[in-house]
């Protein structure tokens, strides 16, 4: 009987439970929002392994999220690589350590700047896009229409997007890292004679798996939270068209904040295992 009840339509929870009423309203809202987001994430894990699998939609979303974000990611990464090199060079020259420039820049980009900056750009572009799209689908009853058509809208809309961001953001980070290093090479070359082979030889000589692997692993988590928050905010959009803007806005703010928090946690874990 219990099982049957769970599978039928049940009312969604509303607001904080009564035993939290002694807390200030802001704290109650924060806890409620955190709880609802966790429940949303839990529903994702519950749905992701169960058929039917929406492969076609995942591929379409991966194209939209990955391919369409590449120009922005590439441009930003290229500029970051160049600027970081141009800004670091004078200091290294002062200490006679100019030869360490490729090593310093590559470690900075691969370990930290690449994953964090690219994820923040994606939180802005992709997170807001998902928040606004789902918010507008909610307001115009497209999600209800999907449900009436016998489609599980959570699976079709939410699961496919979260999977796509989780897969595509690490790929964008890897590509962005490569482009940033190329930007760095051009900046070094502009200031002195260095060959492409020599620059990248120095880069790879100073990089090892403990630099690359944690960075890629944390990018998966960044991708997951960007998709999760974008979908959560859009799917629970309220107050009509005004709510669509609010969903997009808060998706960017919360996802960006979570990227920083996850990065902090990742650094602690990496240090714990002795990779710093």
């Amino acid at each position: 009987m219990e099982n049957k009840k769970e599978e039928t339509i049940q009312p969604k929870s509303q607001g904080a439970p009564y035993w939290l009423s002694f807390l200030p309203a802001g704290v109650q809202d924060f806890l409620t929002e955190t709880g609802e987001t966790s429940r949303f994430a839990g529903k994702f894990f519950q749905e992701v392994f169960l058929p039917p699998y929406e492969f076609k939609e995942i591929i379409r979303q991966s194209y939209e999220i990955g391919y369409r974000s590449l120009p922005l990611v590439a441009t930003t990464a290229f500029i970051i690589g160049m600027v970081l090199t141009l800004q670091s060079r004078p200091t290294l020259v002062r200490f006679g350590a100019e030869a360490w420039l490729p090593a310093m820049v590559s470690v900075s980009i691969i370990r930290e700047i690449g994953p964090v900056v690219i994820s923040l750009i994606c939180a802005g572009k992709i997170g807001s896009g998902i928040g606004a799209e789902l918010g507008s689908m909610k307001v115009t009853e497209q999600i209800d229409a999907m449900e009436v058509s016998g489609t599980n809208p959570f699976k079709y809309i939410v699961v496919s997007r979260i999977i796509s961001t989780t897969i595509m953001i690490p790929i964008l980070v890897i590509m962005g890292d490569g482009i940033a290093l190329y930007g760095s090479f051009l900046a070094v070359k502009a200031k002195g004679a260095v060959s492409f082979t020599l620059f990248f030889h120095q880069v790879f000589q100073n990089l090892d798996f403990s630099d690359v692997l944690p960075a890629i692993i944390k990018s998966f988590f960044f991708g997951f939270v960007i998709g999760l928050i974008g979908c959560y905010k859009g799917y629970n959009s309220k107050n009509g068209t005004e709510g669509v803007g609010q969903s997009a806005n808060s998706a960017v703010v919360v996802a960006s904040l979570l990227v920083f928090i996850l990065d902090l946690i990742a650094v602690q874990i990496t240090a714990f295992f002795g990779y710093i």
Binding site: I9, D144, G150
Partner: protein
């Protein structure tokens, strides 16, 4: 607990003209927090019957059909569609039942990222896996031809006018050949001429596809044209039901005021 005013003609029609009951709503209750939208709503609909539910904006008409489609949970009473209690259905059973229900949304709810063809293809792909590509193509073209918009097959929803969107929304619901149609304010936001066209189209489609319908509206012209029976929703209950003629002549101050103001 209030009783519904049933006119004599409504009772007679209900028993003699139409088939078995396909929707049975008894003492339905639905609230949003302290806002009690449906307090004690009763309505029975028989096969082949068109019932228009009239009521002021915000009185809970859309909530009622969303409960019927299983989009909103209800707290009390009974709501049986095709003899099955909605709140006891598992998701899979509900999805199977929805294959027999067409829902035309107030905003048309066309999928913005899909063409008209893809909008019609979507429910077909989801509900009728047995059809070949050729059969699906033929069915989509036939349905669009029925609503007079075959030429719009490759257009995006953003390129359609309000009336065209309503027609495509109707076609998308009809493509599954449902037994029951639920219309949520089908003529809202349309000019009187287009509203009348849509009302006629709904009636034509009802004859062609042999459906029963619940039409939520506050458009009296649409109600006059399409309804076998009207139900007036007030204060969360089915306050009165009958034909347009009977209700407009009913000696009840509330109904009188309602008909005068619409």
């Amino acid at each position: 607990m209030s009783d519904t005013i049933n006119t004599a003609q409504a009772v007679k029609q209900n028993i003699h003209e139409f088939g078995e009951s396909i929707i049975e709503i008894s003492h339905l209750q639905k609230s949003f927090g302290d806002n009690h939208v449906l307090t004690d709503f009763n309505l029975h609909i028989r096969r082949g019957e068109n019932v228009v539910v009239l009521g002021k904006s915000g009185c809970g008409k859309s909530v009622l059909i969303k409960c019927i489609a299983g989009l909103l949970p209800y707290e009390g009473g009974s709501l049986k569609v095709f003899g099955k209690e909605i709140k006891d259905l598992k998701h899979k059973e509900l999805d199977n039942m929805r294959a027999s229900i067409g829902f035309v949304f107030q905003s048309s709810a066309l999928y913005d990222s899909m063409t008209v063809r893809e909008n019609l293809e979507f429910p077909l792909r989801r509900q009728k896996h047995g059809k070949s590509k050729q059969e699906v193509k033929k069915l989509i073209e036939e349905t669009l031809e029925n609503v007079g918009l075959l030429s719009a097959i490759n257009l995006m929803p953003a390129e359609l006018s309000g009336g065209m969107r309503k027609r495509i929304g109707l076609a998308r619901s009809l493509v599954l050949e449902p037994e029951l149609m639920l219309y949520d304010e089908p003529t809202t936001g349309l000019d009187p001429f287009t509203a009348r066209e849509i009302s006629r189209l709904m009636l034509d489609m009802q004859h062609k596809y042999n459906t029963s319908s619940i039409i939520i509206s506050h458009d009296m012209q649409c109600a006059k044209l399409t309804a076998n029976r009207l139900a007036v929703m007030m204060d969360g209950i089915n306050y009165a039901q009958g034909t347009y003629q009977e209700l407009s002549q009913l000696n009840d101050p509330k109904i009188h005021a309602f008909f005068e103001n619409l």
